[in-house]
Assembly symmetry: C2
Homo-oligomer: 251 residues x 2
Amino acid sequence: MRKPAAGPIRSHPLVARFNHAISLDEGDLSALADVLNRKVVVKKAKDIIVEGYEYRALHVVENGFAIRYKLLHSGKRQIMNVIMPGDIVGFPACFYEHAVFSVTAISDMTLHRVPLDDFTALCTARARVATALLWFAAREAAIYAEHIVDAGRREPLERLAHFLLETLTRLQGIGAASEDSFVMPLSQEGVGNVIGLSAPHVNRMLAELRRDGLIAMSGHEVRILDRAALQILGEFHPAYLIRTPIHQPAP
Amino acid sequence: MRKPAAGPIRSHPLVARFNHAISLDEGDLSALADVLNRKVVVKKAKDIIVEGYEYRALHVVENGFAIRYKLLHSGKRQIMNVIMPGDIVGFPACFYEHAVFSVTAISDMTLHRVPLDDFTALCTARARVATALLWFAAREAAIYAEHIVDAGRREPLERLAHFLLETLTRLQGIGAASEDSFVMPLSQEGVGNVIGLSAPHVNRMLAELRRDGLIAMSGHEVRILDRAALQILGEFHPAYLIRTPIHQPAP
DNA sequence: CGGCGGCTTGAGGTTGGTCAAGGCATGTGG
DNA sequence: CCACATGCCTTGACCAACCTCAAGCCGCCG
């Protein structure tokens, strides 16, 4: 397990994501494989990162979902983002002396543990990998920026529409959703903690979307019935989620 | 102007920020200097990036302030962040085919224009620079994450307290604020557009902070009278703004 | 079968947005 | 040098939105 072949690494969701942005050579891939060799399994509802503690390792998600959030003294919780396969648990929380927010698994997960020193060494040794990670970080920041707009200025119904489309699009990007439907990994209270609404109000807004024929639900499965209308309602432009190839100047 | 000496580059606010994170060698610095050689001056209130258009260049801020924001169809505006010296206009907006949000100068500015291809070439040629930029991006993402919490879950008074302390701390970090006071670069409407409140309500909340003796104001100058109380009120932990040195494994 | 977590719905109250008007400082042009 | 315009701050009144609290229900799992 310390020296996996370079082959399997290509199918890792993180590498799959990189491949759309920048072409990595064999050396890059085997350096990545060296670093992604510590598989860790985490059960649903387990904390992975707790705010305020020191973490000297990142975890790259192979499978499962988690939430990145902050708890306030009032007891309120704000979820910044849902973490999906190919995401990095601990970005950017673990780049600090003490984690700046918490992460909890919301399903069983398989992760690859990467000590921060190994990560740093990889970045400083492999410029293309560091560049790919920089693009990755830019996408992460863009997602956060959209969430600021959601929470700060959109109406509740708009927020929900935006969040549903964002989740659909992200899940499709990792092959975990069909053309027009997906399984929402969060409870309604969880959704409320993402978009800044109370659970009852999330329920009312979902009911409104159903009543207006924009979505249908059965259990946690959400079916998008009128994507065009939802896009207009939530002012959703998938551009910020779409992988942009890094233009590589001729050598 | 095409080939500045490696000396002046050390005093650039971006490099100053990098220096706290990672040590760059002469080659790194001169590569940076090569890239930061196109000075641009922008007048207050001029757009630098307009959402939806294509930009193939970044602008590194040497002087002045700008806002990164999104306009909604309703006419509402959400500011994601105030851009200060040492920040990169166009991160992460310009990493996409079309800019995912807008940037407007709120004071006269001096910038260094960096074509995206040059930027990419720098990253892929200079691993340490790419790594420093990755850390930079992580800090940016952490700031956004705090803004999500602000807009989503904090009470108006708490938001304002948090925003004031964040602004003070960031300005101090670039040597643009004293121990306990700073000049707010935004109007009250602008502040409202950052923290998701209406201008009248920002005014009411500011009045409340003044009434309670936490701050004093004269014009756009804000003086923090009781930092401890403000920190508790806004649950402000400056950790996410503080530069963490990148631990560099022995070669 | 019983308990629990999560969904659903309702009633009521506060918060904070909207609208509006006035004040004050700054800047500009006659 | 004054008249006026402009932009921003300040304050008040009103009202809708959304939170809180609460109760009931459903489905799932032990």
